[in-house]
Amino acid sequence: MRTIKGSVPAAAGILLFAVGIYLVKGLDRPDGVLRALPYVCVGLGCGLFGQGAGELLNALILRKHPEQAKNLEIERRDERNVMLSERAKAKGFDAMTYIFAALLLAFALMGVSFEVILPFVIAYLLVQFYAVYCRIKQEKEY
């Protein structure tokens, strides 16, 4: 199952990379979106391939060493490790809340165009509302 999980993104990555290279070479004087699209394809393809190949290699190695695979699974599910990871994420989120707010304020004071700031503000508020939504959902669940 893990090999499938790795090979699909790896194959998609190679495909996207090939499409990107083809577009870079094949397009003569691209216009509009097509100017950036080939490079987005190459970048996305490389990223997907890297992630998929890593997953695939990992799965292949672990298949040969079931004892290590079991230890890794224990480490992953270990309650202390999970707690530490959740706590670190929470601290990161708290820091992000203040840092992004300060950055948005700085952008606004610098007079950066409204079209740039607005999507950032919307994304920022979405994340904050999502955190509130998760809290309410968990209040009902637990």
Partner: protein
Amino acid sequence: MRNRLEEIRKERGIKQEELAAALEVSRQTIGSLENGRYNPSILLAFKIARYFGMKIEDIFIYEEEQG
């Protein structure tokens, strides 16, 4: 909360690694429990108690926080 995990484990001649493997947790978790840096979930506390054939309160001792 205080616990007698290290004492009980050593009494029975079990290594941290062996206990960790039996409880399906990491060795670091056992170390942190023994040092008192980490308090286990109720599930892990039950697993530990069951592993040693004891009651939870014989291993984990609740102490009122001071000050």
